[in-house]
């Protein structure tokens, strides 16, 4: 089943005219992120996402690319997390995050169709209706509707994630997938700010059956702005007693020629969970770290 899902994802992108790329997993300077710890090796880091290299390929003039690869994050282990997991990323130039929402709808319907699941899937006793368009709610709207504290207060007191996990995610376990969009600018380090509302970045997360499945941006293409945001991410790391990461300077260089684009990271393991009814990520991989 896992193999069929992955083959089907590939077929979708090839049919849509995307070029499949391969980039190194071992890199000297991945994207510095406040809350993602990398796994270091004597020769560099294992990437937490292939975005640095993929955006360099975009800048080199390839407008539609995708990749399915292993990614690594230190200390992440739970029923939805593995320290080594499989990510699908795709990028479109001349597009924004709205186009990626449409891609998500088309991709998931295509794969479910190829597997013979039709337009509704069953996940853990719930029916999920895949007919597009799916639900869309802004982060601000979700906080107003469901959070006991305001978005502003949650950000100031460092309780944003707590409100998301305890009060918002349970509401996103709907009978249809939902896009949670427009994140506060400080939480969208790689995203372009929204025109007319610089307080938010054009970022969305896709939730399906209560699982967070994908994270997307309208990409920031301003190298100076990106460098200053990387420094901010590193500052947060240092304040939390963590080591800052090297700034990926060749990536910043490549941003100068990167066209306006949008990119997305999509959790393949969790997608397999949704299509197979698995309760734990352990159930969709051949080996968990504990079994090695």
């Amino acid at each position: 089943m896992r193999a069929r899902i992955i083959q089907s994802i590939r077929r979708f992108f090839v049919e849509q005219g995307f070029l499949e790329v391969e980039t190194p997993n071992l890199v000297p300077s991945p994207v510095p992120e406040a809350h993602i710890d990398l796994i270091g090796t004597p020769r560099g880091f294992l990437h937490a996402s292939p975005e640095v290299c993929m955006k360099r390929i975009l800048s080199a003039g390839f407008p539609k690319i995708f990749q399915i690869c292993k990614c690594y994050r230190e200390g992440e282990r739970g029923h939805l997390h593995l320290p080594e997991f499989t990510l699908l990323e795709w990028y479109r130039s001349g597009a924004d995050y709205g186009d990626l929402m449409a891609d998500c709808e088309a991709l998931i319907c295509f794969v479910a169709g190829e597997l013979g699941l039709g337009k509704t899937i069953q996940y853990r006793g719930k029916e999920i209706d895949l007919k597009a368009p799916w639900g869309r709610i802004s982060v601000d709207g979700a906080f107003s509707a469901w959070s006991p504290v305001t978005l502003k207060e949650a950000l100031e007191t460092g309780r944003f994630e707590e409100m998301i996990v305890l009060h918002i995610e349970p509401r996103l376990n709907n009978s249809a997938p939902v896009f949670l969009y427009d994140y506060p600018a400080p939480l969208a380090s790689l995203a372009r700010l929204k025109q007319g509302n610089p307080d938010v970045g054009e970022r969305f997360e896709l939730y399906m059956g209560g699982l967070e499945l994908a994270n997307a941006f309208s990409e920031l293409t301003d190298p100076a702005e990106q460098e200053s945001r990387f420094k901010k991410e590193n500052d947060i790391r240092e304040k939390r007693g963590k080591k800052p990461y090297p700034i990926p300077s060749k990536f910043l260089e490549a941003l100068r020629t990167m066209p306006p684009s949008a990119g997305i990271a999509f959790g393949v393991d969790r997608f397999v969970m949704l299509l197979t009814g698995a309760e734990k990520i352990d159930d969709v991989v051949a080996f968990t770290p504990e079994e090695l």
Binding site: E76, G78, H81, G158, E161, I164, E212, N215
Partner: protein, 189 residues
């Protein structure tokens, strides 16, 4: 005293919160989006047995609860009170019927058990896995009576009743598994 981080939390870990001992009974790691990790734990207060849901972040730390297991001998019970003695220093301690729980079915004089203490407060009792007990009441086996299968009920010296094979007679001694409460074997004296 050991200091734990939120990422060290796992089922069964015993920690100190506001001066009280808690055991982690359930634990999940979550990490929304690109945000900070959250550690959701279900914890049980070992003094009151009350459960609570908590959310911790990676910056949160905990002290280990100072728990100590002591070997003690069962002396007697009087109404709701079960009295035990430390065989090293002859110190006596009593537990309530609630704290003793199902273990009361297997407590006979001089039985050696482990008692878990938080500082000087006893929290609970762990029995040896197997205890030998005398059968005080057993009906004779009626041959051909197979209506209830190949076993019959007997009562032990503690008042506990269980099913045993037909050959066990009144006055004999049997070994019982205290974890399941089931008959294990007949003991020759």
């Amino acid at each position: 005293m050991t200091v734990y981080q939120a990422s060290d939390l796992r089922k069964g870990l015993k920690i100190l919160i506001d001066g009280q001992p808690y055991v982690v009974t359930d634990f999940t790691f979550t990490k929304p989006g690109k945000g900070q990790a959250l550690y959701r734990a279900r914890i049980k207060n070992m003094l009151t047995n009350r459960s609570d849901e908590k959310v911790y972040r990676s910056v949160d730390t905990f002290e280990s609860a100072n728990l100590q297991e002591r070997k003690m001998q069962f002396l007697y019970n009087q109404e709701d009170e079960y009295c035990f003695m430390d065989t090293n220093n002859y110190e006596q301690v009593s537990l309530t019927e609630d704290q003793v729980g199902d273990a009361k079915n297997f407590l006979i004089d001089n039985l050696e058990v482990s008692i878990l203490f938080f500082d000087v407060t006893p929290l609970g009792i762990t029995l040896p896995n197997f205890v030998e007990l005398k059968v005080t009441k057993a009906d004779p086996w009626v041959k051909g009576d197979s209506a209830v299968g190949n076993s019959k009920p007997v009562t032990l010296e503690t008042g506990y009743t269980l099913r045993v094979p037909p050959f066990v007679e009144e006055g004999s001694k049997i070994s019982v598994d205290t974890r399941t409460g089931e008959y294990l074997t007949r003991v020759k004296e």
